[in-house]
């Protein structure tokens, strides 16, 4: 049979090592060898598929590989765990790192149903071979192009699931409704959670349902229970839901246990970005569901990781153990209702809930923590101040504005402008960075092989390979990284933190100065969006640039550029705790809580060219004098001019800061300021 031959795994190479489809791993982390090693050992006539009709081998293919029919219970567990772990694989950085190329990216799963009653059903395999041959024949009817063959398939109840390269997806889906051996088959994209649920519903005597049908029903049920204005998803009294009863969800414990994860999956599929999903719901009610523990509903902690309000009232939670799976989940939970549960009366109830949920304020309608107490948790011993931005004629500001727009839109252009043979770029990923939201972030596949995290990358060769020197290498690197979208700095300044200060001792591009030249070091913290598997993911980044004199716009070039990517961490961390103190009143902010502490004078000496205590009150100094000194510091910081020139500019303009600044800009534009007017002579 030529079709069987062509279906032999490994294709023309005949080897069993490589295969086209993704490597599947089951819950024990074992590789699913069904289409490679097993196929290789078997005779040519064997399809090498993981399943035959009636065998019903579902997710854990490798479990059945050793022979012996897997127990139903085991299979069910596998299916559920697969549904859950597929979520995890997509979203958890660690899982992705570990699994490497085991992602879903390179094959699509298609479900084919409606063939059970075909004329071929009397065959020993229920007609599966014929069905696959049928599909292959249909897709190969066109004379040109590469040949289509099914190398990986399995049967789940009424569903034949085939894994194909994405390029075939569209044409395979066109077979939907086609006549196969006397019956019309349904071909659609496979969705594990609802498919498994649909299959279980069918076998447990409920309404027979196709994947799409099950999904549609669940979507409709969710729609009725979702109040978008209140951001509330009401999942209370599910047992009384006539729609669910009609679906036959409660006819067996299997369907009951699968229903909830499937519902969560369907919910997630409604959203194209994780932030959209996160923002849609703030409150969930699971009241009056006779829950004795959270095991059936546990996936909710992933789907709704960031909710603020959770109603679990009138269930059967007996003690902390019954909720243990949700310990440390819902890190943003503020309101929890556990009334009508035995657990509420236990002595450890309040303390346990406070410990598990750090932002919990209202427990069983009683205030257990104040907003102030929660704010105090975030309190840092080092007060958060507005950014230190010691720019030089808006060089850094202009560069940063140009940079992020360019990085989003035309990276090559940016490189041509600002990067030269001496520029360096490297990237590191902090895969375990703290994050504000608990919603899992997408994996780091696109970044991890380029990450130069020196605590992990210890071999010299790798350390050398993972840094890009010069425009060409940098362009190669940047063009291999995902497209990004940074927020607009003008309209969303709060989402960035940009700091800048001068740095001496940079290499002189002309090679003339042996003492080096001065430049700026710029630190940026912010976020960007990128598209991962068709969904928008938000990530945070830290990026440090050193810019020095060069031939780019504004007479600068980038010498160093280090970027750190990490999970989204918000921007609250850098919003100042209090309004920044205007500079004219207090000079450089100091770290000491008491402004008169030892640091105040020390801070002043940090400004080169200024005597100690300059700008600070001192015995014998008048109030006016102090204010004038502070204005001098301000204009000097802004202009880079020395104390003397700054003082001249101010006194010549009646100590009016704006007038003095304008004057300075005019003089600078005319070129009438000598190099000695400037602190660093740049």
């Amino acid at each position: 049979m030529k079709t069987m031959k062509s279906r032999r795994p490994g294709g023309a190479s005949g080897g069993g090592i490589r295969k086209r489809g993704p490597t599947r791993t089951d819950r024990d982390g074992d590789m699913d060898m069904d289409s490679s090693a097993r196929g290789g050992k078997r005779g040519r006539g064997d399809s090498g598929r993981s399943s035959r009709a009636g065998g019903g081998r579902s997710a854990g293919g490798s479990r059945s590989a050793g022979g012996g029919r897997p127990q139903t219970r085991d299979r069910t567990l596998n299916a559920i765990e697969q549904a859950i772990s597929e979520n995890n694989n997509r979203s958890s950085a660690q899982a992705n790192v570990r699994h490497g190329k085991g992602g879903k990216g390179n094959s699509t799963q298609i479900s084919i149903t409606g063939w059970k009653n075909s004329n071929a059903s009397t065959k020993r395999d229920g007609g599966v071979e014929n069905l696959i041959s049928f599909c292959e024949r249909k897709l190969n009817s066109a004379p040109k192009g590469s040949r289509f063959k099914v190398t990986k398939s399995r049967v789940e109840g009424d569903i034949l699931v085939v894994s194909v390269h994405p390029e075939w997806t569209e044409r395979l889906l066109q077979l939907n409704g086609k006549l196969f051996a006397g019956v019309n088959i349904t071909v659609e994209l496979y969705d594990s959670s609802t498919a498994v649920l649909g299959q279980q519903l069918a076998s447990s005597g409920g309404t027979s349902a196709s994947t799409a049908d099950t999904k549609l029903k669940i979507t409709s049920i969710l729609g009725k229970r979702f109040n978008p204005a209140a951001k509330l998803l009401d999942l209370s009294k599910l047992v009384d839901d006539t729609d669910l009863q009609a679906m036959g969800i409660f006819n067996s414990t299997t369907t009951q246990s699968k229903f909830f994860p499937a519902m969560m999956k369907v919910w997630e599929m409604q959203f194209t970005s994780s932030s959209e999903r996160r923002e849609a719901v703030e409150s969930v009610s699971l009241a009056q569901n006779q829950l004795a523990n959270v095991s059936v509903v546990t996936t909710m902690a992933q789907t709704f990781a960031d909710i603020k309000n959770l109603d679990l009232s009138n269930n059967n939670f007996k003690d902390s153990q019954s909720m243990i799976a949700w310990r440390w989940k819902f890190r943003n939970l503020e309101f929890l209702d556990m009334t009508g549960n035995e657990f509420s009366a236990k002595p450890d109830f309040k303390a346990t809930m406070l410990k598990w949920y750090p932002k919990l304020q209202i427990l069983n309608n009683v205030q257990v923590r104040t907003a102030e107490e929660i704010a105090a948790q975030k309190k840092t011993p080092i007060p958060i101040q507005a950014p230190h931005f010691q720019d030089d004629s808006q060089i850094a500001e202009n560069f940063i504005r140009t940079f992020f727009a360019g990085y989003d839109n035309n990276r090559n252009d940016l490189i041509n402008q600002f990067y030269d043979e001496n520029s360096k770029f490297s990237l590191n990923v902090n895969v375990q960075a703290p994050k504000v939201q608990q919603t899992e972030t997408a994996g780091w596949d696109a970044y991890i092989k380029k990450s130069r995290n020196l605590s992990k990358i210890t071999h010299l060769t790798a350390r050398m390979n993972r840094i890009s020197n010069g425009p060409q290498k940098i362009a190669e690197m940047w063009n291999s990284l995902p497209q990004t979208r940074h927020p607009d700095m003008a309209t969303h300044p709060e989402q960035f933190l940009v700091e800048c200060h001068q740095v001496p001792g940079l290499p002189d591009p002309t090679g003339q100065s042996s003492t080096g030249v001065g430049g700026l070091i710029i630190n940026v913290h912010g976020k960007f969006d990128e598209s991962v598997d068709g969904k928008v993911e938000t990530r945070s980044f830290d990026r440090t640039f050193i810019i020095g004199p060069g031939n780019g716009p504004g007479g600068i070039r980038v010498l160093n550029d280090i970027m750190c990517a990490r999970a989204y961490g918000g921007h609250e961390a850098w919003s100042p705790e209090s309004q920044p103190i205007p500079q004219a009143v207090a000079p450089v902010p100091t770290i000491a809580a008491n402004p008169a502490a030892p640091l105040a004078p020390a801070a002043a000496t940090a400004l080169p060219g200024f005597p100690a205590g300059y700008g600070a009150p001192a015995p014998g100094k008048t109030e006016t004098q102090v204010q004038q000194e502070q204005l001098v510091i301000q204009i000097s910081t802004k202009s880079g001019m020395t104390l003397q020139y700054s003082e001249m500019a101010l006194s010549g303009n009646g100590w009016n800061l704006d007038a003095a600044w304008k004057n300075f800009e005019e003089l600078k534009a005319q070129g009438s300021l000598p190099p000695s007017a400037f602190l660093n002579g740049v």
Binding site: K355, Q377, K378, T380, P381, I382, P383, Q385, A386, P387, H388, K424, S426, L427, N428, V429, N430, Q432, A433, P434, K435, S451, R452, N453, L454, S455, L460, R463, M464, I467, E499, H501, Q502, V503, P504, G505, L506, S514, I521, N523, H525, S540, D542, T544, I546, L559, N560, I562, C564, R566, G569, A573, W574, T590, I591, A593, L599, A602, A603, A606
Partner: protein, 160 residues
């Protein structure tokens, strides 16, 4: 220096940065009286959450007298060479090129990690990002406590 090959430069810079990162956070955590040793005599800019601090002695003073216990973890870090031949000033004036070695480089170091202030394990872990410019130690004194590179500038920010 000019003759040093890329592999040597990479080795020296990355090992220097690693050594620095591995010991500096331990000093902040449990050896605060040694903090000053990590700093150049006249650092350019030292910033903690936007607060400017004068020098290493001031940083040490703050950590010794004002800071609660802190547990740092540098989860990810990277470095790049800024200037292969950093113009150091020794007590005898500018260091002549003839005396320079491959270690006379300035290094940009960037760290991403988390810190927990205080003793309770329930206290939150805050994400931070910190950037250092390290310059070669211009002094030639020997001794175990001598650092090969010193902090010229530092910018610490809580970011999560």
């Amino acid at each position: 220096m000019a003759t040093a090959t890329d592999d040597v430069l990479t080795k020296v810079s990355t090992e220097g940065a690693t050594e620095f990162v591995q010991s500096f956070y331990i000093a902040l955590q449990s050896n605060r009286p040694s903090i000053e040793l990590y700093y150049a005599a006249q650092p350019t800019t030292i910033l903690f959450n936007g607060n400017q601090v004068a020098d290493g002695a001031a940083v040490q003073e703050i950590f010794t007298n004002q800071m609660p216990t802190a547990k740092y973890e540098a989860q990810s870090f990277d470095c790049q060479i800024i200037n292969r031949a950093y113009p150091s000033t020794t007590p005898n004036g500018p260091k002549p090129p003839s005396e320079m070695t491959v270690k006379d480089m300035s290094i940009l170091v960037m760290v991403s990690g988390h810190v927990r202030y205080g003793d309770g394990s329930d206290l939150p872990q805050r994400g931070f990002s910190e950037t250092f410019v390290l310059i070669p130690n211009p002094t030639s004194d020997k001794g175990k406590r001598r650092k090969e590179w010193l902090i010229q500038s530092q910018n610490f920010r809580l970011v999560v």
